[in-house]
Amino acid sequence: MTTDAPGEALEVEFREASKRYPGAERLAVERLSLDVPSGEICVLVGPSGCGKTTAMRMANRMVEITEGDVVIGGRSVRERSPSQLRREVGYVIQQIGLFPHRTIADNVATVPRLLGWNRERTAARVEELLALIGLDPELAERYPAQLSGGQQQRVGVARALAANPGVMLMDEPFGAVDPINRERLQNEFLRLQAELGKTILFVTHDIDEAIKMGDRIAIMREGGKLAQYATPAELLMAPADGFVEDFVGADRALKRLALMRVGDVDLWQAPLAHVGQASGEVRRKLVGAEVPYALVIDSERRPLGWLSDADLARETVPARRVASADPILDVGDVMRDALSDLLQAETQYAPVVDGGGRIAGVLSVEIISEFLSSDEALVEEHPAAERPHA
């Protein structure tokens, strides 16, 4: 790490890595094999005592590996001294762990100083990072106790990023933040990660956080065993065993909705009508249609509203309608939010528009429930990820 240019994200591989604490009968981590492609977030999740933190800490040798190896960017972590290695691997610790006796700027400058950067370079980097995390530069000279929990958490991330590590370890990074701020910080971090593209090992005990943050999720069970390693979608659709199924939770079907967008399913089509069109024409289209109501659209194909039986009793389609088209959904909307919109509006159908506001189809509650009961089709869409110990 000798430049300020973004450190290249590195692949992280656990190769049958095991940990046995001296005197302990059981292994804390048992022959863990994981392959985290560069630039991805791998979430280690599991009940407390499952060895997820121990596993993560093997990657920066905060926990020494008993057997097997962890390889970062093709080099074994054992090739460097622990302190050398740790300066090259970002670390966001549980409870944030800012140094209370150092100012925010000094906290962020920790690793650059250990690496012997000069004053100007360190100061420039600190300034850059505070801007990156959106912290008021005035706070740089404050002490951690003077900042809110959310601000401290961001500083913790900035400190880990200071020397541009290719790999970051994050140990329950949002655990010390209240639930309302947690969601905001998670989103903020995902935006940051989209920009930085670091390889990240992320530990949490919260399956919802894992599903939200992870490109891949490693579910661990007691005794440091890997229960399943898969993408979030694959995990929800095809839990490897009863343990994973239980851990993921009974509402996993609903959780899956959070992972997909309205445009991902086959939408229904409603008969379309224009203002002034002959009603007889519309009534004929309604026979045998997927959606038993006709939707009025304008000349730009934007939905205007639904036609009622009373509307259709007239000679032509009237300009004024009883039923509005709301809620109008977008193909990019998250399915879970779309379902919530449908339920809230107490309606069966909602028109879905594309990016230009033109009608793309109709989403119905029925489509969603059919989708939830048909796992097979989706498994094909996402090829099965590796599933050891299956």
Binding site: S83, G97, F99, P100, H101, L114, S148
Partner: protein, 268 residues
């Protein structure tokens, strides 16, 4: 104990009594020796300068040496926790030795004088200072230590950059207790043949005004040294007095208190 006193007393007598100056009201007051003679004390304050400086010298030297030794012991036992009970035990035994007994043990080796007194007083400070450094280091929040290590600090860097700075409040607290108690115990240095306020009291043990003046000087010395250490601590642990600014808008007295506290709280 009485035997020890009896054998040590002749040594102390050597310093000689005080000369009563021929003066009017003050002389009468001193001659009667029933109350504290304020006028005499003011006129004769000069005679207490030398004992006070001797006393101060013993206290400062003892605390400085005591700190140096206790600090070294604390660093030695920091990564070798098994040493802590041993060190605590040894310093504890030293602390409970009667000072007069300790002086008489040292006298044949180091002879009469300040050196003997300082050696004994130094040994007395070890227990308090050592225990406070150890406590301070072990009270360092685990996550700060974990963060330091996780950022790639070596043991030495962790100690000097994280652990010791965070232990400063406890370390200074130990120094303050040690200093104040040494001011008191140093009055017994007379039995080691050293000067100081103790010698002044002992040599004129029947003179009420002298005893009160010496006592007042000792108290003042303790208060001043304690205050100096407190100010040193306030400068070293500025981070600790900072209160969160997110608590809400400042009350209407905030400005007033800030101005009041300004000289202490202000940054250089």
């Amino acid at each position: 104990m009485l035997v020890a006193l009896a054998t040590l007393a002749p040594i102390a007598q050597g310093s000689g009594g005080f000369v009563r100056e021929p003066d009017d009201a003050a002389t009468n007051c001193v001659a009667e020796n029933t109350t504290v003679c304020v006028g005499w004390a003011i006129d004769n304050i000069d005679r207490y300068v030398t004992p006070t400086l001797q006393h101060l010298e013993m206290v400062v030297l003892s605390v400085v040496f005591g700190f140096a030794i206790a600090f070294a012991m604390a660093l030695l036992s920091h990564r070798r926790r098994w040493l802590v009970p041993g060190f605590t035990g040894v310093t504890g035994v030293l602390y409970t030795l009667p000072s007069i007994a300790l002086f008489s043990l040292l006298l044949p080796v180091t002879g009469r004088g300040t050196a003997t007194a300082v050696i004994a007083l130094t040994l007395y400070t070890l227990q308090i200072i050592y225990r406070n450094i150890v406590t301070g280091l072990s009270n360092v929040p685990g996550e700060a230590r974990d963060a330091g290590r996780g950022m790639g600090m070596t043991d030495r860097q962790l100690l000097w950059r994280v652990e010791l700075p965070l232990a400063v409040p406890e370390i200074v607290a130990g120094l303050r207790i040690a200093t104040v108690s040494t001011v008191a115990i140093a009055t017994l240095a007379i039995f080691a043949g050293a000067g100081g306020l103790g010698a002044e009291i002992y040599n004129n043990i029947t003179f009420k005004t002298g005893i009160v003046v010496c006592g007042a000087i000792a108290i003042a010395m303790a208060i001043v040294l304690d205050a100096l250490l407190f100010l040193a601590q306030a400068r070293l642990v500025r981070w600790r007095r900072q209160t969160p600014t997110v608590a809400g808008p400042p009350g209407r007295f905030a400005g007033f208190f800030r101005r009041l506290l300004g000289p202490i709280g202000a940054r250089p």
